[in-house]
């Protein structure tokens, strides 16, 4: 019997110090991103922190904009990246374990050789993004909106795209097992060379494998 330990840690649930603001505070700060007075200094701090460390636990960056950066050989455990806005961000050889990217926006981002487990991307938007040579296990893509998303040579297991809207999206040479595509709206979606026999589609669904 195989048992995987995905992570340890737990999200910090302390909220922003500003009264009536219910957003969870940023790591190391008393307020949420919106209420940080000196955003420039905060951004420099966060970027330095990302640069100097290899392992991140319970990092909360909710709502933070991240642009034009390559993040390589980092491990993220139990990090809260909700409503993140990422533009031209490359993740190379990174591990994400139990991270929450829900309602984030990915523009021209790349995930290369990443290991994504027990992670949530629900409600996120992917525009012109690539996911290559990655292992994606137990990951929640429900309700995502994708346009020109390429998922190449990756393994997707026990994950979900329920209620997602996918345009011009391709799954090329992927192993797709126990992945739930029910209620997904797909336009010009390709599964070329992918093994999707064990994926779940709606009964009336026509799967495009060209």
């Amino acid at each position: 019997m195989i048992v995987f330990v995905y992570n340890y840690g737990m999200f910090n649930s302390e909220i922003c110090a500003i009264s009536r603001c219910n957003v969870i505070k940023m790591s190391g700060y008393k307020t949420c991103y919106k209420h940080i007075a000196n955003k420039k200094a905060f951004e420099i701090n966060i970027l330095n922190y990302l640069k100097e460390n290899e392992r991140f636990l319970d990092l909360n960056m909710t709502g933070f904009p991240l642009n034009n950066i390559t993040i390589e050989n980092k491990r993220f455990y139990s990090c809260k990246f909700s409503e993140l806005i990422l533009t031209n961000v490359k993740f190379i050889n990174c591990h994400f374990m139990q991270c929450f990217f829900d309602y984030s926006q990915f523009e021209e981002c790349k995930f290369i050789n990443t290991n994504i487990k027990f992670t949530c991307f629900a409600g996120s938007v992917f525009n012109n993004c690539d996911i290559e040579s990655s292992d994606i296990l137990h990951t929640n893509f429900n309700g995502i909106k994708s346009n020109n998303l390429k998922i190449n040579e990756s393994d997707l297991y026990f994950s979900g795209f329920v209620n997602s809207t996918m345009d011009n999206t391709s799954f090329y040479d992927c192993n797709i097992k126990k992945v739930n595509f029910s209620q997904s709206k797909r336009k010009n979606v390709s599964f070329k060379k992918s093994n999707y026999r064990e994926a779940f589609f709606d009964r009336w669904d026509k799967v495009e494998d060209i």
């Binding site: 019997m1 429900n142 309700g143 026990f158």
Partner: protein
């Protein structure tokens, strides 16, 4: 608070181990399978299993109870009076639990099974088979399906905060995402 998520291939069940950073007493939710790996994990983190929480009495969520009882003799908390041959403290919506340093809110949500419970610990909901990412638990007929949908709507979706959800099967999710994308409820 440390949360270990353990995934068991048999039945594709998630087991959750929760304890304090400092070690000591720990609780386990739905021990579907216990093996040497988990026992080593407990030893390495200086944990002693004091409590077992059962979301519902289905074998792939409870199979490890026997092993844990032989080693740690923890107290079992569930909707049932007995789990296998071991006595369980019967809990319901009115139960106030403080186990291993954590306040636990109990939510009754029958439908998938008559003993289904959801546990809230801090900003996390452990939903067992009541609610998973994008779907609800299997129900044997339309009456129980309606019952489960009603319970989720009234008792879980009525929670205003955006909590994270750790289900008994499948990936984690958030309350906001389920309210918006779970087609079994919409």
């Amino acid at each position: 608070m440390k949360l270990f998520t353990l995934y068991n291939l048999e039945g594709n069940v998630n087991t959750y181990l929760i304890g304090l950073e400092s070690g000591g007493d720990a609780l386990i939710i739905d021990p579907g399978h216990i093996d040497l790996f988990l026992l080593n994990l407990l030893e390495d983190n200086n944990y002693f299993i004091k409590s077992i929480l059962i979301t519902h009495d289905h074998e792939h969520h409870t199979k490890g109870v026997k092993t844990l009882m032989r080693i740690y003799e923890p107290l079992i908390y569930s909707k049932r009076a007995m789990i296998y041959d071991y006595p369980s403290t019967t809990i319901n919506t009115n139960s106030v639990l403080n186990l291993c340093g954590f306040d636990i809110t109990v939510i009754e949500a029958p439908g998938h099974s008559d003993d289904s419970l959801v546990f809230r610990i801090r900003n996390a909901l452990f939903t067992g088979d009541v609610l998973s990412a994008g779907k609800i638990g299997y129900t044997p007929n339309l009456v129980t399906k309606k019952l489960l949908q009603d319970n989720i709507g009234k008792k879980i979706f009525s929670i205003k905060e955006d909590l994270v959800i750790f289900p008994g099967h499948g990936p984690p999710t958030t309350l906001r995402a389920e309210k918006e994308f779970n087609s079994s409820i919409l």
